[in-house]
Structures are given as structure tokens and as C-alpha cells.
């Protein structure tokens, strides 16, 4: 009797599901390729409507019910970073040049890593296949994935040996390229232009505060840091420096930027502290705010 009613109810159940979850990606089946893994949007869709849509929204527009627009909490307007709008097809965390689509691997890494100081957690608990499927489904939200190919990852040459000269040259570049205009002279995210910054949706956004941050939005390694400023964070004020900074210079800048992270032990900071100049500079730095700069008042 029970089995029988379950059987008769099954078509009804399927129908209700179909009504609840309209065939968004049905017309445009997408795949993702991450190493040996192949993700399928059909499977990813189920996962999306289980784990992601609460924040990223029904149509992937980053306006799910969990997101409250800036200003909802007067005291913490900048902590409330808007979830990615997949329909716009613009992504911060890429290995590819500014203006191009990220690789599947970039997206896969991003959801595995999560985004520090935002509400996006690490989804490392899902299986590799699940994450690959999700990436495939995310690509159904923007027509860009049908008309454009992912960009070619920028070349990151092997990291040269860390030297004091390298750090010093990086410091000169930090001045010359005017990174301090936004990130501040000590990298605290409090430069003269910092308070005026908005992202491409006109939401206030703050530059990264190196002084109290250990992780970056787009990774933790020196290679990740290299990629961040060479590719730029699309959709934000952070531009690409790939056309204006040579690879050797870029590595010097990476070495210097690490010394701004005074709360994070790194070979760069340790080496810089052994110099008279570096020791003085590090000692004079103040600590305040959060890595995304929300605590900083100008």
C-alpha cells in the first residue's frame, strides 16, 4: 500500500520540483574541465539550489535573500560584501588578463578556498566532482561563457631569490606605481583615495589592509599575490599592472608587499627586520582595522 502511494506520488513530486526550480540551465548544458575532472551543469544545478542560491540568488545575480544591501547595518556597511553576480560574468579571482573570463581551474580554486573577510566560506567539504559540477552550472548564468573563451593564464616566471635589494626595489615601485594612493603609505588601506572607492555596482569598497591581513581574497602564496596585481581584480578599483610592470619588477613588489604584512611571519619580513631601515620601519607601523579595511576611519 505504502509503496503504491509512493509510486503514484512520484510524478507529482517531480512536477512540484520542476515548478520550484525552473529549467534555467536546461537549454544551455555546460561543462567544466579541471585537470582530469569534467563537471556537468545538470548535476551542478542540484547542488547550486541546495548550497548557493541563498546568497547568489535564483538567477545567479548575487541577490539571494541572505544578502542585505550596504547600509542595512549602519555600523558595518563594508563587511557586507555583495555575493558574486554570475550573470555579469566578471570575476575578481583570475589567473587570466583583465577583461577576460577566468579558467575553470580559477573558479574551482576560488570556491575551494572561499573568500577571506566575506561570507563566502570554503567549500572544500564538497567532493572534487561536486565542485567541478558547480563550476559548470555557474557558467550557465552569463552568455559570455558561450561566446568567449577563457583568457590564457598570465605567465608567472619562477620566483627569484629573496634579497634585501629586491625588497628595497619593491618599495620604490610601491611609491612609483602609486599603490599607496589607495593602499596607504604603510599598506593599511588608508590612502588618500581609499574612502572614495566604489566597485562596478557603485557599492563602497575598501583597499586591502596589509598590516593586519595574512590571507588575500585570491589566495595565500607569493604566486597568488603576483597574479593579483598583474591581472587586477575585475569589477573592483584594483587595476591590472601587467602592461606596465616587468616580471622581475613584479617579484620585487611581491617581496616588498610581504613586509607590509607585519602580523604574518614570512621570510620577507624576517629578512627586512635584519636591516636597520626595515627594523625601524616595521617598529613604527600601527595596527588597526580589518584586512578589508572596514575598521578604518579617515
Amino acid at each position: 500500500m505504502n509503496t503504491h502511494s509512493a509510486r503514484t506520488l512520484r510524478p507529482l513530486f517531480v512536477m512540484v520540483l520542476t515548478l520550484l526550480v525552473p529549467a534555467l540551465g536546461a537549454a544551455q548544458e555546460m561543462e567544466s574541465h579541471i585537470g582530469k575532472l569534467t563537471g556537468h551543469s545538470g548535476s551542478g544545478k542540484q547542488l547550486y539550489f541546495r548550497y548557493c542560491w541563498g546568497c547568489h540568488g535564483f538567477r545567479g545575480e548575487g541577490n539571494g535573500e541572505n544578502w542585505l544591501p550596504t547600509g542595512s547595518f549602519a555600523d558595518e556597511p563594508y563587511l557586507n560584501i555583495q555575493p558574486r553576480n554570475f550573470a555579469a560574468g566578471t570575476f575578481k579571482s583570475r589567473s587570466t588578463p583583465t577583461g577576460t573570463l577566468p579558467t575553470d581551474q580559477d573558479l574551482y580554486d576560488a570556491i575551494g578556498r572561499g573568500f577571506v573577510m566575506s561570507n563566502m566560506p570554503s567549500w572544500i567539504t564538497l567532493t572534487d566532482q561536486n565542485r567541478a559540477d558547480l563550476i559548470a552550472f555557474i557558467k550557465t548564468f552569463s552568455p559570455r561563457w558561450k561566446t568567449e573563451k577563457s583568457g590564457d593564464p598570465i605567465n608567472v616566471p619562477p620566483e627569484p631569490k629573496l634579497t634585501v635589494e629586491s625588497i628595497k626595489h619593491g618599495q620604490e615601485l610601491f611609491q612609483k606605481l602609486e599603490c599607496w594612493k589607495c593602499h596607504g603609505p604603510e599598506g593599511r588601506g588608508d590612502g588618500p583615495s581609499a574612502s572614495t572607492l566604489t566597485d562596478s555596482n557603485d557599492q563602497p569598497i575598501r583597499p586591502y589592509n596589509f598590516a593586519v591581513g595574512s590571507r588575500f581574497k585570491c589566495g595565500v602564496t607569493n604566486q597568488d599575490l603576483y597574479k593579483i596585481f598583474m591581472t587586477g581584480l575585475d569589477g573592483t578599483p584594483m587595476p591590472s599592472f601587467a602592461d606596465v610592470v616587468k616580471p622581475d619588477d613584479a617579484w620585487d613588489l611581491v617581496h616588498f608587499l610581504r613586509t607590509l604584512q607585519v602580523t604574518r611571519k614570512s621570510p620577507e619580513l624576517t629578512l627586512w627586520e635584519t636591516t636597520e631601515e626595515g627594523k625601524k620601519e616595521i617598529a613604527s607601523r600601527k595596527l588597526s582595522g580589518t584586512p578589508t579595511g572596514s575598521g578604518i576611519r579617515q
Binding site: 583583465t98 577583461g99 577576460t100 606605481l177 583615495s193 562596478s200 575585475d234 584594483m238 587595476p239 591590472s240
Partner: protein, 240 residues
């Protein structure tokens, strides 16, 4: 043998057509649509821009420059309006020469730059400070590039027609506009509000006028021969 003859005949026809159309295209005759863009009402007063945070730019301006979201001239004329053929003309391939967009004195010159789909766009930095050039398209690809002083011009292009706001995040007062258009029949209104769209073959055209603060309006115009038709475009100004 017969097949060959047909081929020769059709080839002759094709050649004749190509030559004929080349002759027609070579002659720059046709009608002209020209006129003046004006406003009615009270426009917002341009506000002076404080560049004290960027001394190298501030010192280039004897008197502080003002915002350019609405630029007016004598007799209620409205500058920086893009007047273009939005319907009735065929899409065209881009011309080979690049259009130039300059950053000078922490200002975009020109404030409104019109060009064609896939036409080369050259962006130069003439300042002693770094700019980041950050156009904000919705349909085209969004990119954002740093351009320190003394670095070569950036060359880009857009493959879809769109009006694109441009900004520099480092200098928040810097605003400009790109108008990416499908054909060469466009004109940006001058200080006296004048515009001219020459070389229009006979036909029925929709003329669209776009202003960054006051929006869009259209007019239909029919060109019969080598006449000049005058249209007047009036925008409603807002005091805010």
C-alpha cells in the same frame, strides 16, 4: 561547355555590379542631417573640482575646472550630446585610424568620445601621476588597467555597441564616456550645440540623441536626395 558560358555570364554580371556599387560608394554625395541641440529649463550648475589631493594636476589649472556632466553654451546650447543614426543605416566596418582618448590635468579629453564597434581606441596618460583607466560596460568586457606616467598608450576596442561610463578610481572626480556605435554616421554636439551628419544616402533614418545626464530622444528623418534637413533637439534640463 554550356556550364562554362553560364559561369562567364554570371561573372560578368557580378563584376559589373561590383564596379557599379564601387562607383556609387566612391561619390560622397547624399543628404545631410544637421541642427542644434539645446535645453529648456534650468540645468544644474557645474561644480568646481577640488584637485588638491593631486597637486601635479591641480597646478595645471589656473582656475579650478568644473564638472562636465552637463556642459552648456550660449543660447541654451547643449554640448557633448552624441547624435547618431540608430536605424536605417547599415552596420559598417570600423575605419583603420584609431580614436584618441587623453588623460591630461586629471581630466578626460574629450569628455565624450564616440567611435565605431571594433575601432582601435588609444588611451594616453599625459600626466605626472598614475591613472587607472576603468571603463564600466555592461555588454562589453570590463577591464581595468593601471597607466603610470610615461608608459605607452593602451590600445583597446569594443565589439558591441554601448554607451560606457569611464572612470579613474584613483581620482574619483574623473568621469568620461565612450559611445560605441554601429556606423560612421554620428556627431558629438559642439559648444554651440551644433551637429552634422553628412553623406547619408536617400532613405528613412532614426536619429537618436544621447546625453549622459538627460538620457535619449529620437526623431525620424527621411532623406530624398542631396538635400540638407535641419532638426532641432531639445532636452529637458534638470536642476539637480
Amino acid at each position: 561547355m554550356r556550364i562554362k558560358r553560364v559561369h562567364v555570364a554570371s561573372l560578368t554580371v557580378i563584376t559589373a555590379t561590383v564596379i557599379a556599387s564601387a562607383i556609387v560608394h566612391a561619390r560622397p554625395t547624399g543628404g545631410t542631417i544637421s541642427g542644434k541641440v539645446t535645453y529648456e529649463g534650468t540645468p544644474a550648475k557645474p561644480k568646481p573640482i577640488d584637485m588638491s589631493k593631486e597637486p601635479s594636476c591641480a597646478k595645471q589649472h589656473a582656475t579650478p575646472i568644473t564638472t562636465e556632466t552637463v556642459v552648456t553654451g550660449p543660447n541654451n546650447s547643449l554640448e557633448n550630446v552624441v547624435v547618431y543614426v540608430s536605424a536605417g543605416a547599415a552596420d559598417e566596418n570600423p575605419p583603420s585610424q584609431a580614436v584618441k582618448f587623453d588623460q591630461k590635468g586629471c581630466q578626460y579629453i574629450p569628455h565624450v568620445l564616440a567611435f565605431q564597434v571594433n575601432q582601435a581606441l588609444e588611451i594616453a596618460n599625459d600626466d605626472q601621476t598614475s591613472h587607472n583607466i576603468h571603463p564600466l560596460p555592461k555588454l562589453n568586457r570590463e577591464w581595468n588597467k593601471s597607466q603610470p606616467p610615461g608608459t605607452p598608450a593602451i590600445t583597446e576596442k569594443y565589439d558591441k555597441p554601448e554607451f560606457i561610463p569611464v572612470k579613474c578610481n584613483i581620482h574619483p572626480w574623473m568621469h568620461g564616456n565612450f559611445a560605441v556605435l554601429k556606423n560612421s554616421h554620428y556627431s558629438v554636439s559642439k559648444e554651440d550645440g551644433s551637429f552634422s551628419l553628412p553623406n547619408l544616402p536617400p532613405g528613412k533614418y532614426t536619429i537618436t540623441a544621447w546625453h549622459e545626464s538627460y538620457g535619449e530622444q529620437t526623431q525620424d528623418v527621411t532623406i530624398a536626395g542631396s538635400e540638407t534637413k535641419t532638426i532641432n533637439l531639445v532636452f529637458k534640463a534638470r536642476p539637480y
